[in-house]
């Protein structure tokens, strides 16, 4: 190996240079961030054509978690106001007590579930009629309308969307929901409103079939939290985000451990690679 002679110079050889990954990482990061940026820009721009109001949520960022009492309040708003028209088909009562959610106690969930009448499509009595019984934690939230036509008929032709994944089904969903709920205002003079429609700054086309659902003092909070439209909107938006992403806390927690692990492993492999290639001559 003739190249051993060069070792004496003590300069980094080309093989350790091969270990340098900065340009490689930079290029990768630029490409990925570029695309993310394009999509983020697109996401903000869509919707009502107006940029959503941005709330600082407790669940933002890699370490963010849900505020349990906020989720509980949000559930109360959902249950007392929204659920009259909006279904939440994919969420079960038992989810209310699972880890990473509002974390009602199991006893509380039994009481909550018991207040609902459930008609299980698979349960029939002796003569084949459907059984109506009190809800159990395992049941899903019953829908306010039996089908789409019934929902439209009761809502002036508009279909109230299901809440289960709504916060993920709109760009920047949780901020959008908050903006929409607080975005009702008088229509500008030059806008002609259709019958039964309300003006909302954040809704596509600005004419929304849902009349302003929330107003101050409409739901009683027992924990001293201000009973305002703004607070209700935040709480129910947070609750809907949890309903759409109930495993968020578990996901972030595992992710934190995984990334930590990978960083250490990267360090070890970097040292191995460096040593191997440096010792090549």
């Amino acid at each position: 190996m003739t190249d051993t002679t060069h070792k004496t110079e003590g300069r980094p050889c080309i093989f350790t240079r091969a270990c340098r990954v900065t340009p490689f990482l930079t290029a990768l990061a630029i490409a990925v961030l570029g695309y993310t940026f394009v999509f983020a820009g697109e996401a903000k721009a869509s919707g009502g054509g107006v940029e959503n109001k941005s709330v600082e949520w407790t669940f933002d960022g890699p370490f963010g978690t849900f505020d349990r009492s906020q989720l509980k309040r949000g559930y109360k708003v959902y249950q007392e106001v929204c659920s009259a028209c909006h279904s939440m088909n994919l969420v079960s009562f038992r989810n209310l007590s699972q880890e990473g959610g509002p974390e009602f106690s199991e006893a509380e969930v039994k009481v909550i579930a018991g207040e609902f009448d459930i008609i299980d499509p698979n349960e029939f009595d002796e003569v084949g009629d459907p059984i109506e019984r009190a809800g159990l934690p395992r049941d899903r939230f019953p829908a306010p309308f039996s089908n789409e036509n019934a929902a439209r008929a009761s809502n002036g032709g508009a279909l109230p969307p299901d809440f289960s994944v709504l916060a993920k089904a709109r760009p920047d969903g949780v901020n959008y929901i908050y903006s929409l709920l607080t975005g009702y205002e008088d229509a500008p003079a030059d806008v002609e409103m259709n019958a039964g429609m309300s003006y909302n700054a954040y809704f596509t086309g600005h004419q929304i079939g849902m009349a302003a659902p929330l107003s101050d003092e409409i739901v009683d909070y027992e924990d001293g939290t201000p009973m305002t439209l703004d607070q209700y909107s935040k709480d129910v938006a947070a609750f809907m985000y949890w309903a759409a992403e109930p495993k968020m806390e578990e996901r972030k927690q595992i992710g934190f451990q995984v990334i930590l692990y990978l960083l250490v492993l990267a360090g070890l492999l970097y040292m191995i690679t460096r040593k191997l290639w440096a010792g090549l001559h």
Partner: protein
């Protein structure tokens, strides 16, 4: 590389096995496979892609245990995975983001091949097999995106299958054949699920051919010159396994960021709305990795023309080895090609951006310009460049170039190296 295949069974059992199934010889060949010692981190994406394929197959097989391919249950079964199945949300996000990561890696892998002329003789078959894998990946990705049965799934499937109706005379018949009906419906979802499960295994088969076709001529390298002797190479293990492993872990960190902290960044919110055949979303876009081709499709104002251009954009890659007339492989020694390469990368990124924008006004004009440039790059620039460009002098051998650079005599050759700041 048969001359490097010098496996000697070391004990009675391996001798017995070797006479019946010489698999240890293959393992031995893989471990000792001589790799040019100057290849850089852009070469680690082959290993990363193998990982992506395995990861997609493993997570995919698992998701199939919980998924229901029926129009009335598909959407809810995905949410069942997200909500109820143990670790289901992670497996589903890993699979969905894994597709994006797979394409990030494959695009880098392809651009690396373009930059260093890895498609040129004697590696034409290697390159063509790679393009076949790319096509299969696109098919698998497309069908996989249909399975959650959201709005984007449904309308993506509708738009893409309608492409085939552009074919004269038989287009309508082909479209109905693909659908198994008169619109995208349950039969379509079922067959897409079946094929989505099948294609990755076909990809795995072609990957084996791809690696085989790699091991015959051996790796290309940043200098693009042939390996002369053992001085120029290192055994794959441990040198490349360590380096590939390190690069893979870096890649996994990026992957994990998306899976754990931003899992829906590369998806579209509309796909969380269940498919509705009566309402098209206001602004439909394919997954990001199809955007450049989608832009080309929309750039042509004719139905058949658009489809031909889109498929042509991939087809042209098959004949690339013969379109590039230059004798020199690496862009390091091709000053003009090097510039055109970066313009081409920008062109592809631009097409990707335009694919996400609405098809109106300035965006259409820009897509047309870039589409023309895309094809001109392959059909005009590359053939002409080979004739008019004066390449820089090539180093004698890999070891020589390495020693020159090491000695500090920063030659013009290495100054052009992209990894040198």
């Amino acid at each position: 590389m048969s001359e490097d295949h010098t496996y000697q069974p070391s004990n009675a059992f391996t001798r017995w096995l070797d006479e019946r199934l010489p698999i240890m010889g293959i393992v031995d060949h893989m471990m000792g496979y001589p790799t040019p010692k100057n290849i850089n981190y852009w070469w680690t994406f082959g290993g990363i892609l193998s990982f992506c394929l395995v990861a997609q197959i493993v997570t995919g097989v698992i998701l199939a245990m919980h998924y229901t391919p029926h129009v009335s249950m598909a959407f809810n079964s995905i949410e069942h995975i997200m909500r109820d199945v143990n670790y289901g949300h992670l497996l589903r996000y890993a699979h969905a983001n894994g597709a994006s990561m797979f394409f990030i890696a494959v695009y880098i892998h392809m651009f690396r091949g373009l930059y260093y002329g890895s498609y040129k003789a004697p590696r034409e078959v290697l390159w063509i097999l790679g393009v076949v894998i790319f096509l299969l990946m696109m098919a698998a990705g497309f069908m996989g995106y249909v399975l959650p049965w959201g709005q984007m799934s449904f309308w993506g499937a509708t738009v893409i299958t309608n492409l085939f109706s552009a074919i004269p005379y038989v287009g309508e018949a082909i479209r109905e054949l693909l659908w198994g009906g008169f619109s995208v419906d349950n039969p379509t979802l079922n067959r897409f699920f079946s094929l989505h499960y099948l294609i990755p295994f076909i990809i795995a088969g072609v990957v084996i051919l791809h690696i085989w076709a790699l091991h015959v001529p051996g790796n290309n390298n940043p200098l693009g010159i042939n390996v002369k002797d053992k001085q120029d190479t290192v055994p794959f293990h441990p040198y490349m396994t360590a380096k590939d492993g390190f690069a893979l872990v870096l890649f996994l960190i990026l992957f994990s960021y998306f899976v754990f902290f931003n899992p829906n960044a590369m998806g579209h919110p509309d796909n969380y709305i269940e498919a509705n055949p009566l309402v098209t979303p206001a602004h439909i876009v394919p997954e990001w990795y199809y955007l450049p081709f989608y832009a080309i499709l929309r750039a042509v104002p004719d139905k058949l023309g658009g489809v031909v251009a889109m498929f042509g954009a991939i087809a042209v890659l098959f004949v690339l080895p013969w379109l590039d007339t230059s004798k020199v492989r690496s862009a390091r020694f091709r000053p003009m090609y090097r510039q055109f390469f970066f313009i081409f990368v920008a062109c592809c990124m631009g097409l990707g951006y335009l694919g996400a924008m609405p098809a109106e006004g300035i965006y259409v004009i820009a897509s047309r310009i870039l589409t023309v440039y895309y094809f001109a790059h392959f059909l005009i620039i590359l053939p002409v460049l080979g004739m008019v460009e004066k390449p820089k002098p090539l180093p004698e051998s890999i070891s020589k170039a390495v020693l020159d650079a090491h000695g500090g005599s920063a030659s013009a050759n290495t100054a052009a190296a992209p990894e040198k700041r």
